[in-house]
Structures are given as C-alpha cells and as structure tokens.
C-alpha cells in the first residue's frame, strides 16, 4: 500500500514538475523545477532497489547537469525576457508524443518477469551488490561501449576548449 502511494505520489510529482519546466514564465524557476523532477526520478530508482542508479542520478543530473544549465541561463543575455516560446511547437509535440507512445507501448507489450517468492532473498543480495556487479560488467563485457562513451566525452571537452579559445 505504502509502496503504491509512494510510486503514484512521486510519479505525478515528476510529471507536474516537468510540465512546470515548460510552462513557468520565469526561466530560473523553470530550471529549479527541472532539478525537482530529477530528484523525483531518483526516488523512483530507489524504490526499484536500484540505489546506485538513484544516487548517480542525483550526482550527475542534479549535481552537474542542472548546475551547467543554470550557469547557461545566467550567462545568456535573453534571461531577462523569461522563458521564451519556441517556434517548433508542432514538431516538438509530434516528437514528444511519438517517444512517449513508443515507451508506453514497449512497457505494455513487454512480459515482465516477476521474481519467484523463494528467490527474493537471492535478489535482495544481488541488489545489495549492484555497484560491484555494474562495475564488473562495465569493465569486462561492455568495455568497448564504455570506452566509446569516454571518447565522446573527450571530444566534448576538446570542443568546449576550442569554443572558449576563439
């Protein structure tokens, strides 16, 4: 019961915050709403017993990306004019609906495997060791994608430096 209440509570919290990100006139408050919705998503991760992902969500999105966005807003000259309307309303609505439908259809059509009650303890242990397991997978099985991501990040850093030096 409590679990369902928490899920629906935080799920709607995330949705309301994301809606307010778009519809707040004050652009700084919109950025703060973005932070709030990131926090809500972290709570949902923790509810799924993915504490590692939840903490990483806060660390990366709230601690780094949100700060960068806020910095970007403050440095922009147009920030005085508030949250300016976008010209691509139709295109944005189309892409948003399409992605949302795709996720919803996939979620409904997937047959979710439920954990049999006799192996719940085993899976709880797995959840407790998840940081080690994720680390092992990243450095063994998924080494190549992991390194590719770091190359992309390196390119981004070099690009940022090149932009700053101009």
């Amino acid at each position: 019961m409590i679990q369902e209440l928490t899920f629906w509570g935080f799920g709607s919290f995330v949705l309301i915050c994301s809606f307010l990100v778009i519809h707040t006139r004050n652009i700084f408050r919109a950025a703060l709403m973005l932070v709030a919705s990131f926090l809500g998503v972290a709570v949902l991760f923790v509810m799924l017993r993915a504490e590692f992902l939840g903490v990483i969500q806060i660390l990366v999105y709230v601690g780094a990306i949100a700060i960068l966005i806020i910095f970007g807003i403050v440095m922009t000259r147009d920030s005085e004019q508030g949250n300016l309307p976008s010209g691509n309303t139709f295109f944005g609505a189309f892409v948003g609906t399409a992605v949302g439908l795709l996720i919803a259809i996939t979620a409904v059509n997937t047959t979710w495997e439920l954990i049999p009650s006799e192996s719940v303890l085993h899976f709880q242990k797995l959840a407790n060791d998840s940081p080690q397991i994720i680390g092992g997978l990243l450095l063994n099985q998924f080494m190549l994608p992991f390194e590719l991501v770091s190359v992309v990040l390196l390119a981004a850093i070099i690009g940022a430096l090149a932009v700053v030096r101009d």
Binding site: N26, F28, R29, L32, V35, R49, E51, F52, V55, I56, I58, L59, V62, G63, A64, A66, I67, I70, F71, V74, Q124, A127, N128, D129, S130, P131, Q132
Partner: protein, 419 residues
C-alpha cells in the same frame, strides 16, 4: 527495502524493545512492550523517527558548540579573550546569538524572487542534515547502512551548490550574485579531486558502505593513503567555504557573498548549515581516514567525537593562520594541481594493490605489512609530486606572467570571475 541493517542497529533495537517487547526480527526482551500486540509497526516507525530526531538535534547542537568553540579559539589565537560574558566562560553565547537572530526582522529585498528566496536556506540546511544518516557513530550506532553510502554523501552534499545559487540569484543583489557565482565555480572544481581521492579508499575496501570502510581499516587509512588525505582535507575545506578558500563570502571584497540580503531566521539557517556541515565533514574524515569509532579504552562514540573535534580544531587553526586566496589562484590550484594529484593517487594505489595483493577468491587481499608498504609508496609519490610541482612553478614564476595576474587583484568588480 531489506531490514537486515536494522538488526545490527543498537539504538533502533533498544527503542523497538521498549515499545514492542521483542527485538526487531529477533528474540524477546526482558520487559513487556508498551504497545499492544499486533501494533509492532508503530514501534518500527517510532524507533526510526527517534534516531532521526536525535541526529537532527545533535546536528543543531553541534553547530552551536562549534560557533562557541570557534569564537573562543579564534580569540586565543589572536591574543584576545573572545566572548566570555554570557553564562560561565561565555558558554551561553550561542544561545544568546540564536535568540537575537530569531527576534530580528525578516527582510525580503525589493524585486526579489520571494519563493526561491525563502526556499534557499532550507535547501541549504537539508542536505547537511541528510548526510548524517549514513555515518556510523559507533559499532551499531547509525541510522542506516546504505550499500552506496560514500556516493550518497557526495551526491547529497552536491545539492548545497544549488542552494547557494538560489540564494545568490533570488536576492536581486549584485554582491550576492558574485558570491554565488564564485561559490558554484569553486564547489564544482573542488568536488572532483575530493571524489577522486575517495577512489583509493574504494580500491582498498572494495565496498561503498561506510561501515565496511571502518571495518576494513586494520591500519587507519591516513597512514595508508596520505596523499588522498591531503587532497580530501583541502577539498573539504574548500567545499565548506572556510579560509583560505572563503572567496564565496569574502567580507572585504563582496560584503557577505550569497547571504548578503538575508536576515533573521533565514540567516540563522544558513549559519547553522555552514557550521553543522563542518562537523559532518569531520565525521566523514573520521570515518574514511581515522578508523571511525574504533580506539583503545574509551567507548566508540566518544572516540568518534574526539576525532571529529580534532578535525574541527584543525579547521579553526587553519582559519586563524592562513590568509584568503584570490579567485584565480583558488581555481587554478584545483584544476592544475589537485586534480592531477588525485589521478596520480588513483594510479599509484591501484598499481601497488595490484602488485602487493594476493589473490583470494578473485579479490586481492592485503595484510598489515602490505598496507604499510602501500602507505609508504603513497607518501613517497606525494613528496615526488610536490617536488615536481614546486620545480615547475618556480620556472613558470620567472617567466614574468605573475605580474600580470597581480593587476587583476585590484579590480573591484571581480571581473575575473566572469571571464
């Protein structure tokens, strides 16, 4: 959530015992429970909330004690008495301060973003208290044992950055905005080396849980990881905006930084968050590097307090001794010196564990002699790095660029922050 960590939580078990008459998931207690049979779950909640209540109040009380000890000790360092009128030895001074702040008028400046202005001190205080949740104060004395405890501390304390920015932006005041811009830049820069310095400890313990970190310390990690300790100490004093890194609220340059426009209870909350975070950082340092609650003769929590207050004393000492750095010096120090040093630390620790450790069940295990050897290698590479850095800075300083930087020191608008 699994309740396994609750079974080893002494305070929780004691309170649950009094209320429910039996241990949580265990044998019965000596006395009859206060609650009727079948209402154990109320005991579950009350016991949890009782620990949270103790932690939050200990945080605020600790902040008050810190204010008193800092003012008295700074007085001693500067050859004056410090506050000594209110109560015996001035012990009631923090209470008088708090009463004064509570009775002051709460002013919201003209043109301020009122909701954000009100929310900022709360967002500042909450993460500082939240960090106490994972810190073990003694064997079995904790609120919760997260399997990602170390990352939790880093993530939650990262929220303070947003609070500082909210405070600076919402006030509609130029000095506050400058202060918060400086603050965000500084906090982001010093977070990286601080987190990287924890990686060496992670390599040695193989777990993110703080209780495992304490249990893994056959030798305190300050001896095994001296380089990480130095980086972590500098990083935390920058994260706490303490002198020599207090450019965020440098009173002689930008009045008081992000809390220029705050008064009354909101200002008190900012101060409480700042002072309490110093104690919390002391607790983190004690857990990571000083073997947590363990020590001879005395009980665990008392050893823990001694270690925390040792760190607090060091912080006050540093504040009384060192002058403030310039903005460009602070940023350059983080990116050009501390970050490479922390990467060297990760490499040196990893390599020495790889060479010295013996494989057992797919995990590398080190005995005490090995750990001391790791520490010796770490210390030697720290000295080597310092010598190298000193050599490079000497050759650079004679290149004639230092004169150019000195001019920007007299720029009153703090233009170097924005460029």
């Amino acid at each position: 959530m699994s309740g396994s960590f609750l079974e080893s939580n002494v305070i929780f078990q004691e309170i649950y015992c009094v209320l429910a008459g039996s241990k949580y998931a265990g044998e019965s207690c000596s006395a009859q429970g206060l609650l009727p049979v079948g209402y154990d779950w109320i005991g579950f909640f009350i016991a949890g909330f009782a620990i949270m209540f103790i932690l939050a109040n200990a945080f605020m009380l600790g902040a008050a004690v810190f204010v008193y000890s800092e003012r008295r000790l700074l007085g001693k360092f500067q050859l004056r008495t410090g506050p000594n009128r209110v109560g015996p030895f001035g012990l009631l001074q923090p209470i008088a301060d708090i009463l004064k702040l509570l009775m002051k008028e709460d002013i919201v400046p003209n043109g301020a973003d009122k909701p954000v202005h009100t929310l900022a001190p709360i967002v500042m205080l909450a993460p500082a208290i939240l960090v106490t949740a994972v810190i073990p104060f003694g064997s079995g004395y904790f609120l919760t044992d997260l399997n990602v405890g170390l990352l939790y501390i880093v993530a939650v304390s990262g929220m303070i950055t947003i609070a500082i920015f909210m405070a600076g932006w919402s006030c509609n005041n130029r000095y506050a905005l400058f202060g918060s811009m400086r603050g965000v830049a500084q906090l982001i820069s010093y977070e990286l080396p601080m987190v990287f310095s924890m990686v060496g400890i992670l390599i040695l313990t193989g777990s993110l849980s703080l209780i495992d970190v304490v249990n893994a310390q056959d030798i305190p990690f300050i001896l095994v990881q001296p380089m990480a300790f130095v980086i972590f100490l500098i990083g935390t004093s920058a994260e706490l905006n303490r002198t020599p890194f207090d450019i965020v609220e440098a009173e002689s340059e930008i009045i008081a930084g992000y809390h220029t426009e705050y008064s009354g209870i909101k200002f008190a909350l900012f101060q409480a968050a700042e002072m309490g975070s110093i104690l919390v950082s002391g607790a983190v340092v004690a857990t990571l590097f000083l073997k947590g609650w363990e020590g001879p003769f005395l009980p665990g929590p008392i050893w823990f307090l001694i270690k925390v207050y040792g760190f607090v004393f060091l912080m006050i000492w540093v504040r009384a001794t060192l002058p403030r750095l310039r903005v460009d010096q602070v940023m350059g120090f983080a990116w050009k010196f501390l970050l490479p040093l922390s990467l060297v630390n990760i490499f040196v620790t990893g390599a020495s564990v790889f060479i010295l450790g013996d494989m057992e069940n797919g995990v590398r295990v080190l005995d005490s002699v090995d750990l001391l050897l790791v520490g010796a290698i770490n210390l030697l590479s720290l000295i080597a790095c310092l010598v190298l850095a000193g050599f490079f800075m000497k050759t650079k300083a004679s290149g004639g660029r230092s004169r150019e930087i000195l001019v920007s020191e007299f720029d009153p608008a703090g233009r170097e922050v924005l460029t």
